[in-house]
């Protein structure tokens, strides 16, 4: 297992290099950083000088090389827009995003899995049909619309929840958390729910689909023949067997929430990495984008590593017998 993990982490270096490479190829197309860094009165000579200083005139291979060279020393450069070290910025934003994704993943799992099981067990009941249909309405509307509608309802009309931001945060070392204050908790409800909606539907539907198949297998029948209680049959035996695709999707979803909860974060002005990133895109803040993408690559490698390890933990059939597979 350890060898597997070590190998994976080594591969992740390659992944990150590739990401950085593609990223640098990409930056030619996102716009001109300079026009966002200076006022309109700044002369073109000065603009050119700045461009030269930042090395933006170099071929992208050179820029890429420079980036990699520094990145290995842990230096991701200064943000064009914030003029702060990129690593500081990302570290500052990370807690907000991680908390948001954690809560929303929790929401979607805690709601999605039981609902999925329920709808699978009661395939033809009215309630599960309602759940199935209702859940779709949530995913057919764009996130920004759902976000705004929620803000309108809970923030403006009923005024029970704050409309933006993270509320008061408490600093625990370098970590800042909103989960310990009332306003922080209130603030996280709407964005987390908005984010969770899509995943919840996805997970629920996946669980249902897989459960329906598993429930027809012989080992479930045998489990029932042994008189095991419903809960044990449904959750311990059946549900666990549906987990492989669910784990995959949950992993990927959590990854993409962490990485790109762009729309939700900007609708709710959630001071996380998604917001940082979308602003970096519109400011053409190349150092942020580059460092960020590379970091996201690491995230995904790790998440997928966890997913693969979970496969192995969940499904013993996947564990070792690789060696035995012939041609």
């Amino acid at each position: 297992m350890i060898s597997f993990i070590v190998k994976r982490l080594l591969q992740s270096v390659l992944v990150m290099l590739t990401v950085a490479f593609v990223a640098f190829a990409l930056f030619n197309y996102v716009g001109d950083p300079i026009s966002n860094m200076v006022g309109q009165d700044t002369t073109f000579a000065e603009r050119e000088q700045l461009r030269e200083q930042l090395g933006l005139n170099d071929p992208f291979i050179v820029q890429f090389g420079r980036f990699v060279g520094k990145a290995v020393q842990g230096d991701f450069g200064l943000s064009y827009h914030h003029k702060q070290p990129v690593s500081d910025l990302i570290a500052e934003r990370m807690p907000a995003t991680l908390e948001l994704s954690f809560i929303s993943a929790l929401m979607s799992l805690l709601l999605g899995i039981p609902l999925g099981v329920y709808t699978a067990l009661h395939r033809d009941s009215i309630i599960s049909k309602l759940i199935m249909t209702g859940s779709l309405i949530g995913v057919s509307l764009p996130t920004f619309l759902i976000g705004i509608l929620m803000i309108l309802l809970f923030g403006v009309v009923w005024r029970v929840l704050p409309t933006f931001g993270r509320g008061d945060v408490v600093h625990l070392g370098w970590w800042s958390t909103g989960l310990l204050t009332e306003s922080g908790l209130k603030s996280i409800i709407m964005p987390a729910f908005t984010l969770a909606l899509f995943q919840m539907t996805l997970i629920m539907r996946l669980v249902r689909a897989e459960m329906l198949e598993i429930l027809r297998t012989d080992f479930i029948k045998f489990a029932r023949a042994r008189g095991l209680p419903k809960r044990s049959v449904n959750y311990r035996h059946a549900l666990k067997n549906t987990l492989v695709p669910v784990i995959t999707i949950t992993g990927l979803q959590i990854g993409s929430i962490i990485a790109f909860a762009i729309i939700t974060e900007s609708v709710f002005q959630w001071p996380g990495m998604g917001l940082l990133f979308i602003q970096a895109i519109s400011d053409v803040d190349i150092p942020i984008m580059a460092a960020y993408l590379v970091m996201i690559a690491l995230f995904f490698v790790v998440i997928n590593l966890i997913v693969d390890v979970l496969y192995f933990l969940v499904d013993p059939r996947l564990r070792v017998d690789r060696v035995s597979s012939g041609r």
Binding site: V30, S35, L78
Partner: protein
């Protein structure tokens, strides 16, 4: 008394020389101060300088205010001014243009300074309003002798996240893009109207979230507010829209340089070189409809490239072109395009008030006289990269907005109407290469002329020429659009700057 407000973005830095942009400088004006300042009506008033003289065309003498203290308690003196002027010209500074107007500066005594300019300058005092004064000792102490810039020699510039100005407020907490907190500076040298003790500023990107935050009572002031939301603010209890004209003029430009347009079905010639075609465009656009429908009655249709608040504005010349589609069709026919033609149009979608919607409306209006517009709407980062000089003026027809930084017509004339001259850095925003020798001549004159009447005549002449030749298609001055809690008094400056000195909260 905490004053909470939101804007769509954050200032780039606390360093006063890092970005020459209105919002950033305007915000910084609450904790830094310059020698001169604008009042609520954009009238020039003394600030850290009590008075100034211009004994010779190129020579200026400033008398500095005594008894002013920086936030850390240091005294404000002539050394600080000279230091600041020097720092503003360091490599990373974006205010080199402004600071560079002054060629040299010498200290006469602790509270008097003598400065020389390279050439006579009628608007020097305006240019200095945003050149804030920093504390020399403090800067030395924290090793921030150069302006904050993103070049990597400059990591962790102290002034980027900390300030030490002379203004009425002090920054106590700074989380870029998240939250900035200011408190009242007790040692401020002047009595101000404001009763605000604390300010909490939050950038909120999404327009609707901003409005929601205001209505829900979490904000005292938000801006900008989408013009269509005014109705909502009017109806909602306890809040109201606050509007006024902005000094920014929105206009359309046309490529009058290339022999064949980049984006058009007309090959071998450039229709925009024909004044009739340009005039046809001008008469095809219904500015009142745009005002009524898209801007919800809030814009001021324009006939020239500057707004009434700008020094040099003349209402007589500024009358818009008439809306006359018949005439427009006729002109097109005369120009040899009875069936119109196709042209690609570039448009930002996140820069100006309802920019994309305005472009769409223009496209639909032009369609009615036979001109088919292919609209390419992009976010500002891509848009500017494409159309500006750095992108090779890659456009045939575009929408742009301009506020003269010095609140003076010369700035607009120089940047927008003068022929493109890369070496002299003139006409650099004249993206369509409109060119007229007389305008070029006038530009230089206006820059030097210090007599107001003569200068005005020259300005008028320049605008008249451009208008007659239909060099541009001005659309309107866009509105300032703020939303405030009722009972809060906030003066709204035409350059969209919020000055806390004048904010009064209800008791």
């Amino acid at each position: 008394q905490t004053f909470k407000y939101a804007f769509q973005g954050d200032m780039g830095s606390l360093d006063p020389y890092s970005l020459n942009e209105t919002f950033t400088l305007g915000f910084q004006g609450n904790f830094y101060e310059a020698l001169t300042a604008y009042d609520e009506n954009l009238k020039l008033i003394p600030a850290l300088a009590t008075s100034w003289e211009n004994p010779e065309p190129n020579k200026w003498i400033f008398h500095l205010r005594e008894g002013v203290k920086f936030h850390n308690g240091n005294d404000f003196t002539a050394d600080d001014v000279i230091f600041s002027w020097e720092r503003a010209q360091t490599d990373g500074s974006d205010l080199r243009g402004r600071a560079g107007q002054i060629a040299s500066m010498t200290k006469v005594d602790d509270y008097t300074i003598e400065a020389t300019t390279g050439q006579p300058n009628a608007v020097l005092m305006q240019d200095l309003t945003f050149l804030y004064i920093m504390d020399k000792e403090w800067s030395e102490e924290h090793d921030t002798l150069e302006a904050t810039s993103p070049s990597d020699t400059n990591t962790n510039n102290y002034a980027n996240l900390n300030e030490n100005g002379t203004g009425p407020f002090m920054v106590v907490e700074r989380q870029p893009d998240v939250k900035t907190k200011l408190v009242r500076f007790d040692g401020y040298w002047k009595d101000i109207k404001s009763n605000v003790k604390e300010v909490e500023f939050t950038p909120i990107t999404q327009a609707s979230t901003r409005v929601a935050a205001l209505i829900s009572g979490e904000m005292d002031l938000v801006y900008p507010v989408a013009v269509q939301d005014w109705k909502r603010l009017d109806e909602a209890e306890g809040v109201a829209p606050l509007t006024g004209p902005e000094a920014r003029t929105i206009f359309l430009g046309m490529d009058q340089e290339r022999d064949e347009l980049l984006y058009s079905n007309i090959k071998g010639k450039n229709p925009f070189k024909d004044q009739k075609v340009r005039a046809a465009f001008a008469h095809a656009i219904n500015l009142d409809a745009i005002k009524k429908k898209i801007m919800r009655g809030s814009s001021t249709p324009a006939g020239i490239l500057i707004a009434p608040q700008i020094n040099g504005f003349n209402a007589e010349i500024a009358k818009p072109y008439s809306y006359d589609p018949k005439l427009s069709k006729k002109l097109l026919e005369e120009a040899g395009y009875p069936d119109g033609f196709e042209v690609g149009m570039d448009c930002p979608n996140d820069r100006y008030v309802n920019d994309e919607k305005v472009c769409q409306a223009v496209a639909s209006m032009l369609a009615k006289v036979g001109v088919k517009v292919d609209l390419n709407a992009q976010p500002k980062s891509k848009y500017f990269a494409k159309i500006l000089a750095t992108g090779g003026f890659d456009t045939s027809f575009y929408l742009l907005g301009w506020t003269p930084g010095s609140i003076d017509a010369h700035n607009a004339i120089l940047n927008l109407m003068h022929s493109v001259d890369k070496d002299a850095q003139k006409g650099m925003f004249n993206l369509g290469h409109y060119s007229n020798a007389r305008v070029d001549e006038l530009t230089d004159e206006i820059g030097k002329e210090t007599d107001p009447a003569t200068r005005q005549a020259m300005i008028d002449e320049a605008f008249q020429i451009v208008k007659d030749e239909v060099g541009y298609l001005p659309l309107h001055q866009q509105p300032l659009s703020w939303g405030v809690r009722e009972g809060v008094t906030v003066p709204q400056r035409a350059d969209n700057v919020l000055d806390f000195r004048n904010v009064v909260l209800p008791e």
